[in-house]
């Protein structure tokens, strides 16, 4: 039982990270129906920013964290402006291929600058694990879980109450109609990228606290997992990304703990296939029937 609870906690930790990255995926998809494959690489940029600012330049941790999140936001906005915006009216497939191209550009660029050798991620906090009877929960796990939940709730609050949030929902529902109502769609999309990539920056921080080595391909694996989480929960829906992330993390952890580490990816993809067979729009997605 204790072993099971411990594995559940491990799963929640990984799941929270997936969920946080999936939030960014889902926001961008929700508004311009683009799967931003470069999202995982934004994560990598956040991680390298922290390594450079703390390990090489010796900046205080708090400043480094803020700078790294800002770097992610900046990259996100610049990528949107130069890679995706010119293709806004072209077929979806062009943007998709561009997204893959941007992902490769970032990975190879990082390889050029930082070399392919992994770098150690600095220790940001060294708190002892929390003992709850026989259960031991590491402080990183608690922090990650809390940050993920807080991010989701505040995002949900943001899109339902603030003006910019409402504009996001309007643009995501119907871009042309929103523009006719006087909403600046371009600004709204830029804001969405900024928030999504900022979340990737937070994700980078939590990911590297859990797995403290940084390499140019760091973002590809969590990027793919987070994408699956977003699809599983219903892409475009924020609580769905959260739910998908947790399911994914727990499924992985339990498979590794009880069945075999070789099967963990098979189980994850198996769950995805089964869910999509019965609910093509994802767990929380509503299927919209189109009138012909």
């Amino acid at each position: 039982m204790i072993l099971f609870l411990n594995q559940l906690i491990n799963g929640l930790h990984v799941g929270s990270i997936y969920a946080l990255i999936a939030l960014g995926y889902t926001m961008v998809y929700g508004i311009i129906k683009l799967i931003n494959f470069a999202h995982g690489d934004i994560l990598m940029i956040g991680a390298y920013t922290i390594v450079v600012t703390i390990s090489f330049m010796g900046w205080p941790i708090a400043v480094a964290i803020i700078v790294s999140i800002l770097a992610c936001v900046l990259f996100g906005v610049v990528i949107e402006r130069f890679a995706y915006k010119p293709l806004r009216s072209s077929p979806k497939i062009s943007s998709l291929i561009t997204a893959i191209g941007v992902s490769m550009l970032l990975q190879n660029g990082a390889q050029l600058i930082f070399s392919p050798n992994p770098k150690p991620f600095p220790i940001l906090l060294n708190a002892p694990p929390l003992n709850l009877g026989p259960l031991q929960i590491s402080f990183t796990t608690i922090l990650t879980f809390a940050v993920a939940i807080i991010s989701m709730i505040s995002l949900q609050g943001f899109v339902s109450t603030f003006k910019m949030g409402k504009a996001m929902r309007a643009v995501s529902e119907d871009m042309d109609a929103a523009q006719l109502m006087g909403i600046n769609a371009n600004h709204t999309i830029t804001a969405t990228f900024a928030i999504g990539c900022g979340l990737a920056g937070v994700g980078a921080l939590l990911y590297c606290m859990a797995y403290p080595t940084v390499s140019p391909t760091l973002g590809s694996l969590p990027g793919i997992k987070a994408f699956i989480a977003a699809v599983l929960g219903g892409i475009g829906i924020m609580p769905g990304a959260m739910l998908g992330g947790f399911i994914l993390g727990i499924a992985e952890s339990l498979t590794k703990g009880y069945i075999s580490s070789q099967l963990s990816d098979a189980v994850v993809y198996g769950i995805l296939i089964i869910v999509l067979l019965f609910k093509p729009a994802g767990l929380l997605g509503k299927s919209v029937s189109e009138k012909v």
Binding site: L3, N10, P118, P120, P212, T213, K256, G257
Partner: protein
Amino acid sequence: MKTKRILSLILAAIAICGMTIPTLAEDTIKIGGIGVLTGPAALYGLSVQKGVDLYIEQLNAAGGVNGQQVEVIWEDSQGNPTVGIQAYNKLVENDGVVGILGAVLTDVTKAVAEYANDIQIPMITASATAYEVTTGRPSVFRTCFLDPFQAVAVARYAAEAGIKSAAVLYDNGDEYSTGLFNAFKDEAEVLGITISAAESAGTDDVDFKSQLTNIKSANPEAIFLPYYGAPAALILRQASEIGLDVQFFGADGISNITDSISDMKLLTKMLYTDHFTVDATSPMATKFNADYEAKYGEKPSVSFSATAYDAALVLTQAMKTAGTTEFGPVVDAIKNSQVEGVTGVIRFDDHNDPIKSVFFITFDELGNKVFVKQLDP
């Protein structure tokens, strides 16, 4: 008219060059170096390269081999067997090398060794530790000890330290890791150490907490981690996060762990086997350490620079003894060599493996390597 004259001049120049190139080529002995020079395991390849280059530089300064200078041509295997074979073909067919130093990683070396054996070109690896690398390949040698040998040494050390139960976490997609695991398990059973948990992970995994949680619930006295430095650093960190506080054992793959870890205190729990230590005191070793530091401005961080130095030494010495670079006589000369190297006296057994000692190393709180014990064969 003018263009014609220029053209004929160029042609004449080419003709002259064409005539001089072969005579130039005869002046140098070309040796091919294959190693992983980029990617996560690059440190191993670069260490091997540095060790070889250091020796060849000294050798050339002392007059080379049989009156000829030696040149090593390096190719990057990227840690990939297919790329390794391409590198081998380029070296043998285009560059006409007469010996191969490398490859560095076990699976690449196995792939290249198969080709090298076909034409019986002498090949010495400084770092491929899996048993089968030299099996049935009479022209392939190595200057490092073997996985079974290190795993057996670790098991014996653990038994001597009074450890009764040990767990293993290994990489099920990597031959190095599974080979060490199997050898450790067999020897541990002989010595009466119970393997209380044997967990595995995939090669690209970064999350080991599920496996470590299982290991923790089995309550072992020690954990054997047949891993390379970068993943081992992640494992040590995650083990401390879930409160798993026991002795860790590793093999030579651990030797680069200090490059991937920021919390050096975790390393005090790690003890591993190595081919060489900078604390070694033989005259050759002392000279090697000094020369290495003079040339590269740092102490050798991975012992493979020492075994690579020895590999280059053994190969060129054999060419001197044979008095030729023909494959057959050189292979025979390597087989019968008895050379004083940096890592000790090198002679080869029937399986083309060196007969040599293993060093146990641990770390202090600042991540400096601390020599613990030497175990002779």
